[in-house]
Each structure stands twice: as C-alpha cells, then as structure tokens.
Symmetry: C2
Subunit: 361 residues, 2 copies
C-alpha cells in the first residue's frame, strides 16, 4: 500500500513533503532530544517555532501589523459562538450572509449571543448560487457581518470580497484560506479550522484587527476572550503544539511553492480541469452551481444515473482515488481540491471519469 490521491473534504490531504519531514523528526526534533510533541510550549525552542510559523503566515498573506494572529482550539464551530461573545455587546445585532450549510450553522450557533439578522441567503434556491447583492439587507448598525467565502458542501465560493461598508467583515475561511492572495485589510476577522488548507484538525488560525479585541464587554471566562489569547501570544493555556508545528511546516511548503499567487494559479488550473471534464461529459456528470459562483476548492457533482454511484465509488477507490463520496445532504460525489492536492491527482480523476463514462455511457 502507498499514498493514494486524496479528495477528502476534511480532515484533508497534507503535502507529502510536510508529512515526510514530520516523520523524519517525529522522535527527535531539532536537536532537542525529544519529539516536538514532548516539549513545553513555554520553552525557547517551541516559542521560536511558534513565532516562525506566525511570521511565515504574515508573509504569505501580507497581514498588516494592526492585525493579531492567533492559534486557537475548538474548530471553527466553537468560534461560531465565541465570535459574537467577543465582537458584540449583549443585545447587539449582527448580519449573517448565508450561501450554504456552514453559513447557516454559523448563524445558528451565534444566536444565543447576538441578535442574528440573515442579511442575505440563497437557501430558497438550494444554494445553487451566491445571494445576489441586490437582495442583501445589510444593517449599518450591525456589530459585524459574517460570511463563509467558500461552502464545502454546496460548492459555492465568493470570488470577490463583499462590500459591506464600514461594518467589520468576519469570514470563516476554513476551506479556502491560503488558496490564493486575499486583501486582509478588507476584513475585521478571518478564521479557519486547520484541517483543510493548513494542517491537522484541532487547530484554528485567526487573524483579527486589534481594535476589535477590545469589544468583549460581557462577563465570560478569560479563556474565551480573544484579547487574552492575543496578549499571551496564543499561550494562555497549552496550545495544540503538534498542529502549530505542522501548520508551520505547511507555511514553509507554501513559500517553497512560490506563495499564494502560485497556489491561486494551480488551484484555478485544477478546478478548470475538473469542471471542464464535468461540463464536457455530455450530461454524464453534472455540477449544478452557477458557473460564476463555483468553488475552486470543493466540486460536488452527480452522475446522470444515481444507480451508478456505488459502482463509481468502488471503481474510483480501486483506481487509487480516495474520498469522492458526496456529503449526505446532497448525495452524489464531491472532489475537494485543496492546496495539497496536486494537478496530477485531478488529471488522474478526470482520466478515470472519462473512462468510467465510456464504460457506462
């Protein structure tokens, strides 16, 4: 057995070069006499690692100095709740723009802490496209506007940053962070679960404009306050040190690959290859999303006859193509094309798809 092409939606593929380095130094890291997992987060060696990871992320994303970078736990889902706790006073309102499952979930977990206004939604159209700007009902008095730039289940993605005026824009970038350059200064807060484009699960990376750190006025434990985490360099308590380490290796790998401009080009090429295969299959395969709103990261597609689904999954796995089963909410297939999925994987996939269509067409 060896490593196969992995299209998992998350936890997802990690660059093989990153895993190989982690494997080499798993028992003894960097001359320390111990695994990186066995070192105090407060020791000099780990603090240097942590600072280097932050510096590399700042360089990759051109993060302005007035933004703090935090390495947290709890998954994006915990921060669906913690963000209103930190950014909204009790009784305040917040706008949520909903373009799929994760936007819905963010709004619902926020509801105990803020008055949620669904300022945009394409749910009535089954999330087949983004909410059109004419339909937005933004509240200029909102504490913030939350949106999900890429929806992993529905396969829609914002290719431009929505203009929400002066209200701080909060983005759950779990599934498309680092997939291309982004103007961080347009955001109040960016957060991402690591398990798609950064590293293993159990780590959340957050980029927050420092003035927003002062907004948490309601009573809560220190551990929930982003300002406390920022003041403690994300070591208010023991962080996920392994996750932080692998994130750092991934950031170095991204720099080696040429940074986010290069990644954007590759991700565009990968997505184009797959969408062209689907659209050019004469209806054998189908992706229903409005073309302009299609995700580069997650490509859901169906077969013209769902009775072929089981055969497709069995044959694709036999061909070394992993985790193509679609989310249960939509059925069908889904291929996730995060940074660590190389073009060769997508070439293998479209080759398999063409062959399968020919055999079953």
């Amino acid at each position: 057995m060896s490593r196969l092409w992995n299209f998992s939606a998350g936890p997802a593929a990690i660059p093989t070069a990153v895993l190989e380095q982690a494997q080499r130094e798993l028992l003894e890291w960097n001359g320390s006499g111990a695994s990186v997992m066995e070192l105090s987060h407060r020791g000099k060696r780990f603090i240097a690692l942590a600072a280097q990871a932050e510096a590399d992320l700042r360089e990759l994303m051109s993060i302005p100095a007035d933004y703090a970078v935090l390495f947290l736990q709890g998954g994006a889902t915990q921060h669906f709740a913690q963000i209103p706790m930190n950014l909204a006073a009790e009784g305040a309102r917040a706008d949520y723009m909903v373009a799929g499952h994760w936007g819905e979930k963010a709004a619902s977990e926020a509801a105990p802490y803020v008055r949620v206004n669904i300022a945009a939604s394409s749910k009535s159209d089954q999330y087949l496209h983004l909410p059109s700007p004419e339909s937005w009902t933004l509240d200029p008095g909102a504490a913030y506007v939350h949106y999900t730039p890429n929806e992993t289940i529905h396969g829609v993605e914002y290719h431009d940053i929505p203009d929400v005026g002066e209200v701080p824009l909060v983005a759950d970038m779990s599934s498309n962070i680092l997939s291309g350059p982004v103007d961080v200064s347009r955001f109040g807060l960016i957060y991402a679960g690591a398990q798609k484009n950064i590293g293993p699960s159990g780590l959340v990376v957050m980029i927050i404009r420092r003035d927003l750190l002062q907004r948490a006025t309601r009573p809560m434990a220190r551990i929930f306050r982003y300002a406390e985490h920022a003041a403690a360099d994300s070591m208010l308590n023991t962080p996920n040190t392994w996750g932080w380490y692998l994130a750092g290796l991934t950031f170095q790998w991204l720099k080696d690959q040429g940074g986010l401009v290069a990644m954007a080009e590759r991700n565009r090429a990968k997505a184009d290859l797959l969408y062209n295969a689907i659209d050019g299959s004469g209806g054998f395969y189908r992706n229903p999303i409005a073309v302009a709103d299609r995700s580069r990261m997650n490509v859901p597609f169906t077969l013209h006859d769902s009775a072929l689904d089981a055969a497709f999954l069995q044959a694709s796995e036999a061909a070394g193509l992993l985790a193509l089963k679609g989310h249960k909410a939509l059925g069908g297939m889904r291929a996730s094309l995060y940074n660590a999925v190389p073009l060769e994987a997508v070439q293998a996939l479209v080759g398999f798809m063409a062959d399968f269509a020919q055999r079953h067409g």
Copy 2:
C-alpha cells in the same frame, strides 16, 4: 542526537514505542492510502479507531456504563469555564477545594458562571500540604465539588478520594489520570488535558456520569453542551483526530504494560527513588511538601544554595536530563514522572544528583 530523559511537566514525555508506531505509519495508516491525519473523522476507519480508543480507556479505568467518555478540545482551562456552564444552573453555588495553582485557576475561571465557594484551601500555608478535612466547609446544596487531585506546580497529590457526600465530585485529573487505578463511580465528572499522561496537547478526555449531562439549562451554543458531544460520540464537529489516535496508541501501550495496577507500582517506585534521594541528601536537596501529601507525578525540589541552580540545570542537560527547571512561581527544580518516564530515567536523575551534590557539597 537521540532521545534524552524528559522530565517536562507538560507537554510531556510520550512512550517511545507509541512514537515509533506513529512514525512508521505517519504517511500511510492502516491500509488507508493516507495519513491518519488526512482521513475524514466520519469515515469507517477513523470511527473504528475512535471506538477502540474509548473501549480501551473504559477497560483500563473500569468505567461504568452509566458514564459517557468524551474526546474534546480546549485544554482543561476551557473546561474550568465549561463545567459550571454545564453542571450548574444560573445562580447556583459550587464548592472548590484548592490545593495549589490549578485549583485556584479552576475556581477563578468558573466565577463568571457559578457562585464559587472556596470550601477548602491550603493557600495560607503556601500549599505545602493538602487542606485538612477538618477545615473543609462543604455546602450540601452545592451543584458540585471541584478539586485537583494532583497539583503539578506545588507537587501535592490526594492519595484518597475526598468524601463529599452526595454532591457530584468533579476532578481535574490532567496530571495524574491513568497513573494508577481509580474508582470512577465515586466521581460525577473526571477530565484531563492529554499532554501529560495521555498524548499530545490539544485533546481533553472527559468521563461524565450520564445523568449530569441533562443539567445544562442556561442558553448557550450547542458546541458548549457536553450532552451534544455525548450524543454525537464526540464528533459534533471535527475532533482532534491526531490526538485521539495517539491517545488510543497510549491506551494500548498501557494495556501492554499490565494496566493501571502495574503503572501504580512503577510510579510509586519512581517517586520513592527520587524522594529518598532528596531526603537522604543531607539537606543538599529539599522537597518541602508534607510527606503524606507528596505527588508521585511532579516532584519540585530546591538546592540548598540557589546560586547552584544554573550550574545544576546546565550540567543536568549536558548529562541528558531534560526540562528540570522548576516553575517560575516556585523556582528551583521540578521532575515530572508521568507514565512515559521509565524507572531508568529516574535512576539516571538520582545518580546525577548524587554526583552533583558530591562535587558541590
């Protein structure tokens, strides 16, 4: 360079055999074609791994069926806050027994969510012993009693479970879980950050009596409710899959070692060896804790002349003994002797200590 003897207080030593297995299968786990970190937590392979880890922990600790076992995130510190959110109604009272730094911290993080009664404290005696039972002021109407069975900084440990009557007993076992057998049925809730006796940081293991899951009545996001995590088999959102995997390997290693009775014997032998070396040093080394209350896991000690501290630390590291520097709150030295620290490590330490004392006595 190779692996040295690691006395870190946490993140701490992990059994070498566990790390070797993790290293072997880092790139490709269990015939899956991917790293265990790259697999969906909702796939059959990972679900089987997760269930096996839980079953092994249940076997090791003889956990009764009316207790749920959860694999969570956030560190013990987050659960200092989340426990009162879940176990106490708004306005309710809870008792805290405080025998060191971590008991204090648990009480202070709980304060926004429950009326904290310090029902016992040895702070006025600098935590040199446990609070004596005659001094306890337990409240029969408390929602729960919280205590810290082992204090990593001060080096005190409860060797018996406190009798708190019918009120549910909540224990932060971060630093002594799995160090010996424990009667789980005496507890309402046991929780532990993984980074001392279980695995890497970023994982919390919780054992909770199922009837207590129904106590969370205040408004909060689903992600904070233990009942939701229990209902979802700790997959309410993406768990720390790597941490869960390494915890499972550690549980198997513990079974291979003969289980918790065998570990208790070894831990007793290790601690006795070190305490005897300290007490028999003619005052060169000193541990100030009441003998009956001394921790088997964390042994703080001072040199008779603190001007020798720097030389001791430099020479011990040169001798392959890592992370002996004491916590900054107490100064001096500290040796943590968790499960993964073998007797040979303590033998090397006491040999070094005798030699150092002879050279500097």
